[in-house]
């Protein structure tokens, strides 16, 4: 059970650091890194939620079904995390491409210059 608590604390730290980075760091690339950290924190919450101190949810041929059902971790969050990793990768790819275009125009990565309201 201790492992689960530790993962929740790590996840919370990752999310808070990510939010801080997105809103208060003045560099576009660092903002994107912070977003990635935050997304990983959320993934960790999902993974840790399904963990119950048991085995991986893969049913080996010699394992009786009752043992498997009572011992294995909850597989649904793991499927969700796999999907979320794909979504996040595509979002981050678009953002990195956009930041490249904006860098070519402004010759700087400062968010206060690039994202200024007009």
């Amino acid at each position: 059970m201790e492992l689960q608590v530790a993962s929740f604390i790590t996840a919370g730290l990752l999310i808070v650091i990510g939010l801080y980075g997105v809103f208060f760091v003045d560099n576009v690339i660092k903002k994107i890194i912070a977003l990635s950290a935050m997304g990983n924190g959320v993934n960790l919450v999902l993974i840790a939620m399904g963990y119950n101190g048991g085995v991986v949810p893969i049913k080996l041929p010699n394992m009786p079904f009752e043992v498997f059902a009572s011992k294995s971790a909850y597989p649904l969050p793991q499927a969700l995390v796999l999907t979320n990793i794909v979504i996040e990768a595509s979002m981050l790819a678009i953002m990195l491409a956009l930041s490249m275009v904006l860098y070519k125009k402004y010759k700087t990565l400062k968010a206060s210059v690039i994202l200024k309201e007009d």
Binding site: I15, G18, L19, V22, V28, K31, L35, M38, G39, G41, V42, V45, L46, M49, Y74, L76, P77, L80, T83, N84, I87, E88, S90, M91, L92, I94, M95, L98, S99, V101, L102, K105, I114, L115, E117, D118
Partner: protein, 481 residues
């Protein structure tokens, strides 16, 4: 055989095909026309009720797998969505280079928003919500200006934050109940623990981002203003229907739980802020597209207010207003597109367009009267219903705010109409107007939308009566004492 998934699958498949045909103008034009026709038929091929994917269903009393829920209300919403989609696609065909990419992104957005509306599974909702965000960003990037890139980047930045938080909320709800299916989850939420309220908060953050309510209103308005005007018509349709779908999910899940009244108050406050901020910002703008963009935010506040009231009348009024709003606001954006073709969208430089395009001026005037709630146009009907719903729960202040915001809308709209069509202008400017041709397909779409404005204003029952059954199922009657 139930063909319900085709509503989502068909646009997605066509999006992939059209994306590969990028640059082949003749084939793209032909296919776009066929797809636009097919989209209108799509909402009528599904059967009402649940649809379970890949043969799963109810097993041991639990629903497993992804499920869709289809009923009359969702049919009306999806029909409106597809109609606006096909009109925008037809307008896009008139652009000089028929653009496979634009069509593909529009179709991707249509598919994802209709999946958000249909979905009865929280994770499926999240996935398509993110796809809708990506599609909207892509549509803005496709307009290719520097400011568009900036707006898209800011939108994505906020989008990643809001999307992650929404997923966190879904994780909370999953851990509290052990299921993702919305209909099922409702039964397990009754023994509420504090985690559930965390989930509710995160869902509300996701909702505000998806629909452009404060604190995300400037980002969203920037997005509408920087896209090409006829694309902006599509974008605001997406966000209104995401708003409707997610609000219905929140009401369905949390209505009647202890402490829900606080969230209720928060939602109503958010929608009032949206209404007021939107119209105040719109009154200050000197750019026609920005003005329309902030009005879209303000009208989104009306929709949210109606749905947040949560009574059957409120829900019906909210959905009806969303439908009316996408119709007249798309007409306004198409009008702005025609004006943009003639000479930009800076209000200070425009003027004297009335003798050049009198028919467009008339249709835009109809849409402007509709947005400010003048009878006999459709905006009047739904605003009246919203005010009635607010009075029904003993909140006359809300009704008063709605009326005041309506007056602000009327003032800024008439100002824009004067500056664009009536203000006297010089001889050379008229020659400049005449040298540029009017996009004919845009005028066709505009005419269809204006006709719908008047039709729904005179016979609102054709939509309203279809919304009632589901609203009675979800909404509860209550009143402030």
């Amino acid at each position: 055989m139930n063909f319900l998934p085709l509503i989502v699958v068909f646009p997605l498949m066509m999006a992939i095909i059209l994306n590969y045909l990028h640059g082949k103008e003749k084939i793209v034009r032909f296919l776009t026309f066929l797809v636009a026709l097919a989209l209108i038929v799509l909402p009528f091929i599904g059967e009402y009720g649940f649809y379970y994917f890949s043969g799963h269903g109810v097993e041991n009393g639990l629903i497993s797998g992804i499920a869709y829920l289809f009923n009359q209300t969702k049919q009306v919403v999806i029909f409106t969505l597809m109609l606006i989609g096909s009109l925008v696609l037809i307008t896009g065909m008139g652009e000089k280079h028929a653009n496979g990419m634009f069509t593909a992104l529009t179709l991707m957005g249509l598919a994802s928003v209709s999946a958000v509306v249909l979905s009865d599974d929280l994770f499926n909702l999240y996935v398509f919500y993110e796809i809708a965000a990506v599609a909207q960003t892509g549509l803005v990037i496709a307009s290719g200006t520097e400011k568009a890139y900036k707006a898209a980047f800011r939108y994505m930045l906020m989008g990643c934050v809001a999307g992650s938080l929404l997923l966190l909320g879904i994780a909370f709800l999953l851990s509290a109940t052990g299921t993702l299916n919305i209909t099922d989850m409702k039964n397990y939420l009754i023994n509420a623990n504090p985690m559930v309220y965390g989930g509710l908060l995160m869902l509300i953050i996701g909702l505000t981002y998806g629909s452009g309510l404060p604190p995300f209103h400037t980002v969203k308005a920037d997005l509408y203003a920087r896209a090409k005007p006829f694309i902006a018509a599509m974008l605001q349709t997406y966000s209104k229907f995401v708003l409707v779908a997610m609000m219905l999910v929140i009401l369905k899940l949390f209505y009647g739980m202890p402490y829900f009244n606080t969230a209720h108050g928060a939602l109503i406050a958010l929608s009032i802020f949206g209404m007021v901020f939107g119209v105040v910002m719109a009154l200050m703008q000197s750019d026609y597209r920005k003005l329309l963009a902030y009005h879209a935010i303000s009208q989104g506040g009306y929709v949210a207010a109606g749905l947040a009231l949560g009574t059957p009348l409120g829900i019906v009024a909210g959905i009806f207003h969303a439908i009316n709003h996408v119709i007249y606001k798309s007409a306004l954006f198409l009008g702005a597109y025609i004006v943009h073709k003639k000479k930009g969208s800076n209000l200070a430089k425009l003027g004297g367009l009335l003798p050049i395009i009198p028919s467009v001026a008339f249709m835009v005037l109809c849409a402007k009267l509709a947005i400010s709630g003048v009878p006999p146009f459709n905006g009047f009907q739904s605003k009246w219903m919203l005010a009635e719903a607010a009075m029904e729960v003993n909140m006359p202040e809300l009704a008063v705010i709605m009326i005041i915001v309506s007056i602000g809308t009327f003032v800024s709209m008439m100002k824009a109409f004067y500056l664009i069509y009536l203000k006297p202008c010089s001889e050379e400017q008229i020659n400049e107007y005449k040298s540029k041709e009017v996009p004919k397909l845009a005028i066709f779409s505009l005419a269809v939308l204006t006709f719908l404005c008047i039709l729904l204003g005179i016979y609102p029952d054709i939509v309203v009566e279809k919304l009632y059954p589901y609203a009675y199922e979800i909404g509860r009657t209550w009143a402030l004492k």
